[in-house]
Symmetry: C2
């Protein structure tokens, strides 16, 4: 492992989320004090079947000996790509952990932690924007920013070697729904004090201009909902408290009642209400059991499924499988979320179904029913202007976004030497007025199946992919223990494969091929599975390649038949 | 089957491509004369692993008895989603076929047909824009349109019951690369004669304004290529003759040589050159074997892989696996194509890799390196204005696009009764001045594996999906033929499954479970596979569900061991 640390420097080591989309996590280290900022998950691609989550393999921190000096984990906000990896971090580091976040962030983390059991203590500390946290010689100052979830902070990480500014996710919303403003003064003040290196959110670097205020969505939603004489269904992300707040407010104004469908929505709503982040007038909320009693034109259903997930509440409603809700032509459906890259087809599919049902449909491309939670180019520039950093490291983005953000930094007057495009695993060092990449370490990924701790091995994942592309042939041979001759039939079973088991002529050919290949083997090899299997496999592989240019997974099973077979009765 | 035909009407039956994206095909019928317009393929979604193509099941035409009266197949242009299904149509109808298309279209169809063998005659007839074809009482007039492939026509389908206008794919390019103009006069003339029903391309209904001329792409490509001092790689669709023509022209002007990489590109280039659709100055083209001899700054490589296909030439170059080409920082890569919905992630992946290699990258979102071949809203309106149709049926689009195109028709002054949003399988009838949907038939889809005639059964597809989601367990039992007792070991093999075969304790448990369940069976059932299999399967299913909430495919294999095993020597 190429890990090194030069004494007296501020080391910045992105663990995830830099050069990739999701699973944000960064290590900051000054001498014998280290911090982790955020610990998120990444969501899998469609070519990773069966994987639910991807997280960095945090055991790398043990390998490089940093685990012992981690003084705390500071979380910027409560989105899954910033908190979802915390349980895996806690397990991998296998020691007591101190975690810091604002009230709502801690609320969401608590929910996540409850789903797991740990051998060590995990302490959650609630902090507020404006706080300063001290970890040895590192101080962390929390500045409020606006985003698509409430209670978000950016971090100033101050060390004797210099000061880093870590934005986390943000936009510059001048009229936030909760009235809690972006901390312009704090940003400007730290700009004046001097920021050595800025690490800033690259998510929306491709978007020109400014991101609209969340409030504009409320206005459009009201305009859409007001004239409707039937029920209204709004699909949004469960963590989007601002959005939910606005829908609840509109419902109250229009004398409609709100029902939540979808467990993640119910969970995050209950956390947010308990912690006082949602203002819900009495009598607005209703249970799903009450739906049938509420007149259709008095109903707003908030639901999950904005990404077209087939098992979500929205998909079930559309398929007519939801117990409580039936769709009628003229119902209004609002998909109040962006489509996450990779989900385009499934979202399209649900929108097409809705058009087929003659619903009134609103989604981002045709109505103003969603605004992003991330800063567009002009906001990103504003942050440069406020902070006037000496160096820049783009974070939260894939390579393309990082490169484009680097180009923006150049527009803002930074030189090539002041801009550092790095990726997860690269070790960046701040020493004096110099920032440089000194080395890299390899950080593996863990593929998590389900939402517990179960991990899918790489090899299993590869198998699944091949199975799904080319299908499977299982060939079973029985070999007599004594004579080393084949006994009975050679069994051929196919799954997910063109050649169906009822093509008898083909089956005969395959069986013959296997028998022939087996008979060519030396007697002494025939009872050695490890010797037989590859021969059978390669004989069949070439057969399928030549016959049908196909590459199924071939699974030869060789069974030894004891000579005194069937003795037990 | 609900098929009916009312004598004396013009029947329009979309077979594919209406309410879905791709596999365009439409049946027109007047009394005992029927025509098919286009016969295309659809490309599969990522949740259809191993499927290469989807086509309509044309045997439906035999079932409804229309096969016997098909007088011809008329093709509007040579794109795969309009011609790729022709071999399947010929096979399904299983009779002599007469196919009509322009010269280039026929060139591409010929290539497709060569890959297959037919029991019946397939005649290809070359036609030119301006021609009129007669099929019994139906006349088809061919009008030239512009699109992203050369030699395209729209069709006027004239029958005693009325006249339909079928646009096929088109844009209104006022300055086409080949100088062959859109037939405005022909459109206007038919508008004056009277069009009873317009069927028009909905692909770009979401795009405002006008689609830019293909020529603008040539200008930008030249501006990008001219200053480059290294090699240039352009990825585009192999059928885009205009685009390739422009690149060849630029290469000649800038004294570069052009090499093609990718078989489909070589094929379509050779068809286009043979038929005189490409003007290639002497000495511009080079073989891939010559690449090493050409100075890097004198080289343009045209390649396939604009959709990020992992096995394409571009992907192989990026992965460093291409024999002839190595990438260097500063090389220019132009992705001169749109990203087809569903391919966003794979295109992103390749763009990120290119940024990582410090290439100069140009793609649609950041440079003017691609324009669409389909009409935007203003062009679609222009067609309405020229034709002033009495009725409208949007085609070539999924439900969402059809609905939006219907809204545009309303803007153009058509009433609700004049606009007919239908989908594949719906039977539309033109009689007098009335158009109506009279019924629907069900049209199945065929899932094709490879590009030959091999069809993947639905069940195989479902298996693959499950295999890819949950992995596989194969359990093998040997049963003594006489005693009906288990012989030897119970074999358990897992693939693509969490539980790896080396977890011995788990394996022992699974084996025990299988043995136990087997021993509970009545003796007479034990040699009856059909009886044993479901019992074993359900025993294991409940085991995996309870132990790990997992639902793998379970494949029990029961083998009968003959009592006189190993007799042959």
């Amino acid at each position: 492992m190429a890990y090194k640390y030069n004494s007296g420097t501020l080391q910045i080591l992105p663990i995830g989320g830099v050069g990739e989309f999701g699973m944000n996590a960064t290590l900051y280290r000054y001498n014998d004090t280290a911090l982790i900022v955020d610990a998120g998950v990444m969501f899998p691609d469609t070519d990773q079947p069966g994987v639910n989550l991807i997280v960095p393999d945090y055991t790398v921190l043990n390998e490089i000996g940093v685990d012992r000096i981690i003084a705390g984990v500071v979380i910027t906000h409560g989105h899954e790509d910033h908190i979802g990896g915390i349980p895996f971090l806690c397990r991998d580091l296998n020691r007591d952990m101190e975690i810091y976040g604002t009230r709502l962030t801690c609320g969401f983390i608590r929910k996540r932690l409850e789903e797991h059991r740990f051998d060590h203590k995990v302490d959650l500390h609630e902090v507020v924007a404006g706080d300063t946290l001290s970890f040895g010689e590192i101080k962390v100052h929390l500045l409020r920013v606006t985003h698509s979830i409430v209670d978000c902070v950016a971090l100033v990480i101050e060390s004797p070697a210099g000061t880093a500014f870590h934005t986390g996710d943000f936009k510059v919303d001048q009229t936030p729904v909760d009235g809690k403003n972006f901390d312009f003064a704090g940003f400007a003040e730290w700009g004046k004090k001097g920021i050595d290196v800025l690490l800033s959110d690259s998510t929306n670097i491709a978007k020109k201009g400014y991101t609209l205020s969340e409030r504009t969505v409320g206005d459009s939603l009201k305009q859409i909902i007001e004239p409707s004489r039937q029920k209204v269904i709004v699909a949004c992300f469960s963590s989007h408290i601002h959005r939910i707040q606005q829908i609840v407010r509109i419902a109250a104004e229009l004398n409609r009642r709100v029902v939540l469908l979808g467990r993640s929505l119910e969970n995050s709503m209950s956390v947010a209400r308990q912690l006082g982040y949602l203002k819900v007038p009495a009598g607005v909320m209703a249970n799903k059991e009450e739906i049938r009693e509420i007149p259709e034109h008095r109903l707003i259903i908030i639901t999950t499924g904005s990404q077209g997930e087939p098992m979500s509440a929205l998909s079930r409603i559309v398929r007519g499988e939801a117990k409580q809700v039936e769709m009628y032509p003229g119902d209004t459906i609002i998909i109040s979320a962006k489509t996450i890259p990779g989900n385009e087809k499934s979202v399209m599919r649900i929108i097409n179904s809705l058009y087929r049902m003659e619903a009134e449909i609103h989604y981002e491309e045709i109505s103003e029913v969603h605004v992003s939670g991330h800063a567009s180019r002009e906001e990103l520039k504003l942050v440069f202007s406020l902070l006037t950093p000496r160096h820049f490291v783009p974070i939260h983005g894939d390579r393309m976004q990082l490169v484009h953000h680097a180009e923006l930094a150049k527009e803002m007057g930074l030189t090539r030497r002041q801009i550092h495009v790095v990726e997860s695993g690269d070790i960046v060092e701040l020493a004096g007025d110099k920032v440089s990449k000194i080395d890299s370490i390899e950080i593996n990924r863990r593929f998590i199946e389900g939402d517990r701790f179960e991990e899918l091995e790489d090899i299993a994942l590869r198998d699944r992919r091949r199975l799904s592309e080319d299908g499977l042939i299982v060939v079973t041979l029985m070999v007599d223990e004594k004579s080393a001759e084949l006994v009975g039939e050679v069994e051929v079973i196919t799954r997910g494969f063109l050649l169906l088991s009822d093509d008898e002529a083909e089956m005969v050919q395959i069986r013959d091929r296997v028998r022939r290949r087996f008979s060519e083997l030396k007697r002494k090899d025939r009872l050695n599975w490890e010797a037989v299997r590859p021969k059978i496999r390669s004989a069949l592989r070439s057969y399928f390649r030549k016959r049908m240019n196909s590459f199924p997974v071939i699974l030869p099973i060789i069974l030894t038949v004891p000579r005194t077979g069937g003795a037990k009765r």
